[in-house]
């Protein structure tokens, strides 16, 4: 079965070029373009290729993320999930897409038509833009900017504006409530998110995502350090809140304010909102993987397979949250961000400070100590009044 | 189980109220209704602090509407005392029990909505089951069904 002449190093070498397969593909196309087109147009072609690939991958990722979510949450609830359309329900996303296209697009009377039309577009644009910044594999990042990480946060913060405009444009009391909650939540969770990413910037002295990933070769990812693990946990919780996912899905709380900011959207506009949410889930998980889990760094498999493995691992946790947790209330949501996540991420920065200057053993011990104590103290402070852990019940005659 | 005769005697003795036994309850004159309730609620022996059921019954032949109250005591867990009040079918006004028992609030609104019994002293007496624009009292025996095909303008 295996060819006897096949030597061990061949496997490593075949993995090697499997890893660079996309880069080779682009280079061949580029050589072809160079020989044919004048110089400025070549630059245009290379840009078009990356943009084209990402613009194609984005919606596909989104569609199969909806499928994955329905399957995972289904299995959590002892049911099978979609399995009628296509072999394992694999054609279900396409069926949903067609349904969304054919659904009538209702604009409520008295709604602001321009805003009602513009806001889904403005929500999807940042979600798609951000995909370009992610390092999909070894030298496969579409845009390798010096200020990559900061640009990532800048682009995601523009999403808040369009959600608010969309809700304000649809003149519906429920979406107004949803908009107020959305803006409050997105702004107050951006800060802990950026702070918990500052930890990585301080350690690697750079804010370009590609270099951060390069700084974690082989297996020594940042997550295996005390500050890295807490950084990942804090960043991940903040990004769950950033994409309005389950414990924090107040802006579109279906049991309270019908569907929050996208109550009045149907058809393709609703699909755009849906796509923006799922693309944000993907991009923020990918960023968390890049910052703390070493992006595409991995011992044996080609780099982009590692990238997708880690990202879908983190996405699975988000889907797992979706199947388990009830929703927080607005004031608890705010309290959690400002009174727990923010102080924890600041303490995390202190720990990284110690980490860079102290010797490894002292840094480890001190790091774990500080984080544990601060977690305990903050938890105590936060739940002192609200939660009565075991409450007495009388079994009367 | 509380014997109604004993309650009848007790009421006569302490309040001087003439009540007579009718079916499973005591028929109380409309004017003294609230005093009877207050007495039954505060009296140490009875402590009827829970009004379980309140409903109106339409006696077309005697052209009377009877309101039936069933009182229980949650404190000393004793059985029902049925109190009945009769009013004329046309201008049926009954003192409302809501000042003493908040539990009677919705049931009195339902009696007003379906039977047209006006409870004076009730905080916001409006229709509870029918929509506001509905005329007539559907549960009365002489209620004529409007024919379903006529289109009714709903607010």
């Amino acid at each position: 079965m295996l060819d006897p002449r096949f030597r061990g190093s061949d496997i490593k070498e075949c993995m090697e070029n499997l890893d660079q397969i996309f880069v080779q593909a682009k280079r061949t196309v580029m050589n072809l373009a160079e020989s044919v087109l004048p110089q400025p147009l070549v630059l245009l072609v290379s840009m078009l290729i990356s943009i084209g690939v990402i613009a194609a991958i984005g919606p596909v990722i989104m569609m199969y993320l909806t499928w994955l979510e329905r399957k995972v949450v289904g299995r959590i609830q002892n049911r099978i999930g979609p399995n009628r359309v296509g072999k394992f329900g694999l054609l279900q996303p396409i069926a949903d897409g067609i349904k969304m296209l054919t659904k009538e697009d209702i604009v409520p009377e008295g709604a602001d038509h321009i805003l009602h039309f513009l806001s889904p577009v403005l929500v999807v644009v940042p979600a798609l833009l951000v995909l370009g910044l992610l390092p999909w594999g070894r030298n496969m990042a579409a845009v390798d900017l010096q200020v990559g990480l900061l640009l990532f946060f800048a682009i995601t913060s523009t999403g808040t504006l369009s959600i608010f405009l969309g809700a304000w444009g649809s003149r519906n009391k429920f979406s107004l409530l949803g908009a107020l909650r959305a803006v409050a939540q997105l702004i107050s969770y951006e800060i802990p998110q950026v702070f918990s990413a500052v930890v990585v910037i301080m350690h690697t002295q750079t804010i370009s995502i590609v270099e951060i990933v390069n700084a974690q070769p082989g297996f020594n990812w940042f997550v295996f350090t005390p500050w890295g693990f807490t950084g990942l946990v804090l960043f991940y919780i903040a990004s769950v809140a950033e994409c309005n996912r389950t414990p924090f899905d107040l802006p579109e709380a279906e049991s309270e304010i019908v569907a929050g900011f996208h109550t009045e959207y149907s058809g393709m506009k609703f699909a755009l909102f849906y796509m923006a949410e799922f693309l944000q889930v993907f991009s923020l998980s990918a960023l968390a993987a890049a910052l703390f889990l070493g992006g595409w760094q991995g011992p044996f498999l080609p780099s982009w397979i590692w990238f997708f493995l880690k990202t879908y691992g983190l996405i699975f946790i988000m889907l797992w949250f979706r199947g388990t947790f009830p929703r927080l209330r607005v004031d608890q949501l705010m309290g959690f961000a400002w009174k727990f996540l923010l102080p924890m991420s600041m303490i995390n920065i202190v720990v990284v400070g110690i980490w860079t200057y102290a010797s490894p053993i002292v840094a480890w011990v001190l790091g774990i100590l500080i984080i544990a104590i601060s977690f305990g103290v903050l938890a105590k402070l936060n739940t002192r009044y609200h939660i009565e852990r075991n409450r007495k019940f009388i079994l009367a005659e | 189980m509380i014997q109604l005769e004993e309650v009848k005697a007790e009421l006569e003795k302490s309040l001087g109220v003439q009540t007579e036994l009718s079916g499973s309850g005591l028929l109380v004159p409309k004017s003294r209704l609230l005093d009877v309730f207050k007495f039954l609620k505060e009296n140490a022996k009875y402590q009827m602090d829970y009004i379980s059921n309140l409903c109106a019954v339409d006696y077309l032949k005697q052209s009377q509407i009877e309101i039936v109250y069933h009182l229980y005591s949650m404190r000393n867990k004793t059985g029902p005392i049925g109190i009945k009040v009769r009013t004329d079918r046309q201008d049926c006004i009954v003192p409302s029990a809501t000042p003493l028992f908040r539990g009677a609030e919705f049931q009195e609104r339902e009696a007003f909505d379906l039977y047209g019994v006006k409870f004076e002293g009730h905080t916001d007496l409006r229709r509870i089951l029918m929509w506001d624009g509905f005329e007539g009292f559907p549960m009365r025996k002489d209620y004529v069904h409007e024919d379903e095909d006529r289109y009714v303008e709903h607010p």
Binding site: S255, E256, G323, V330, R391, F393 | H70, F106, M139
Partner: protein, 384 residues
């Protein structure tokens, strides 16, 4: 509905109050029920419940039908627990007619009542968590157990939710042969399900933070507003009609009545889980003591054969039982004819709603939804 927006003037910042109608079509009002809420920001300033969308005038229907004719309609009152509705109606008419119920029928009634309590409380815990935002997981775990019990009802009475199984003087048909040990198996594997739900929910910090000290109902307000059922017991009032009236053969079983201390949504949730445990105890004792024998008394059988000429002696009677949602009572006036002269249903959900506004004032919109969920209303019973 006048849509007035009072602008409350405050020196620094005059904000408008938002009038929202959490209306008949809303994902978590458990049916066609509307709450007119005046909001200041997110906190509730005024809340008026509006009902009557599902009003079918069940009481007038009963006045034009034979006594047994309205038995299938009682299934549609509280469509989650049709067996207990039937029992309550049968009890009231038996009190008026003076029919006695044979031994085996009494045990079957207790078994069916407690199984219905399990079904209702399991579904409620699921729906309460659904209002809290848990995306259908607790509901589907609860429905997994509920389906097994509904299959039992189907094998006994012929239909899962509209059982129409009780007759005056006993039950319609005897238990099929495989019923008892199948029911025993379900009752035995219920505790693991309850433990799993408790592990998933009771100590969950988010649930505790959302439910504790929310919608507190004080003892005396509860008694005065004649609230009954688990909502009353969660506020600490020891009032369970199975223990007080000892109707049927409930005095032969020993079971406890769980009481809460604070009376908030968390207590109401946990009291129902404890009540499920008590029902399991009753069921085990009932299965042990179930004896053979006739299932319907002779007088009852003749009445069931030709309901149209079954006469009930003149008089009036008020029979009540401890339904899963509270005290379900039937007040019946008969003039000796084959049709009831007056037929009134004292519905627990309808009266438990009086205190909805008192509990919701000052809370947020999200709290009002779970307070409504914790009262456990079913619109078939509220609107009759």
């Amino acid at each position: 509905m006048t849509n007035t927006i009072e602008t409350q003037t405050r020196p620094s910042l005059s904000t408008q109050q938002l009038e929202v109608s959490i209306g008949p079509q809303h994902p978590s009002t458990h049916g066609v029920f509307r709450m007119n809420v005046v909001l200041d920001g997110e906190t509730i300033v005024k809340l008026k419940p509006v009902m009557g969308y599902l009003h079918r005038n069940h009481e007038q229907l009963a006045e034009n039908m034979s006594w047994l004719g309205s038995m299938p309609y009682t299934d549609r009152l509280d469509y989650f627990c049709s067996m207990t509705n039937n029992i309550a109606y049968a009890l009231a008419v038996e009190k008026l007619m003076g029919i006695d119920v044979p031994e085996r029928a009494q045990y079957i009634r207790v078994i069916m009542a407690e199984l219905t309590r399990l079904v209702n409380h399991t579904a409620l815990v699921g729906f309460l968590l659904n209002d809290l935002g848990a995306f259908f997981t607790p509901v589907l775990y609860a429905f997994r157990e509920r389906e097994k019990i509904l299959d039992l009802f189907e094998s006994v009475a012929g239909s899962r939710m509209m059982c129409n199984y009780m007759r005056f003087g006993g039950v319609k048909l005897d238990l099929p042969d495989g019923f008892v040990d199948c029911a025993k198996a379900i009752v035995d594997n219920y505790p693991p399900f309850l433990e799993e739900m408790e592990r998933l929910l009771t100590k969950n910090e988010i649930l505790m933070a959302r439910c504790q000290n929310v919608g507190i109902l004080l003892k005396d307000l509860a008694v005065n507003a004649s609230v009954t059922g688990p909502v009353l017991r969660a506020s600490g009032v020891n009032y369970d009609i199975r223990k007080i009236d000892k109707y049927g053969i409930y005095d032969r079983f020993d079971f406890k009545v769980p009481l809460g201390t604070v009376g908030d949504v968390y207590d109401r949730y946990y009291v129902r889980i404890l009540e499920m445990r008590e029902s399991l105890k009753i069921l085990r004792q009932a299965f042990k003591e179930l004896s053979a024998g006739p299932v319907i008394s002779q007088k009852g059988l003749i009445a069931a054969k030709s309901p149209r000429n079954m006469k009930v002696p003149a008089g009036d009677a008020y029979g009540r039982i401890e339904a899963p949602k509270g005290e379900l009572g039937f007040y019946i006036v008969s003039e000796g004819g084959t049709k009831p002269y007056r037929y009134h249903v004292r519905a627990p959900s309808f009266i438990n709603l009086t205190i909805l506004e008192d509990m919701c004032l000052g809370h947020k919109v999200a709290d009002a939804i779970i307070i409504l969920g914790s009262i456990d209303i079913v619109l078939g019973e509220v609107d009759r």
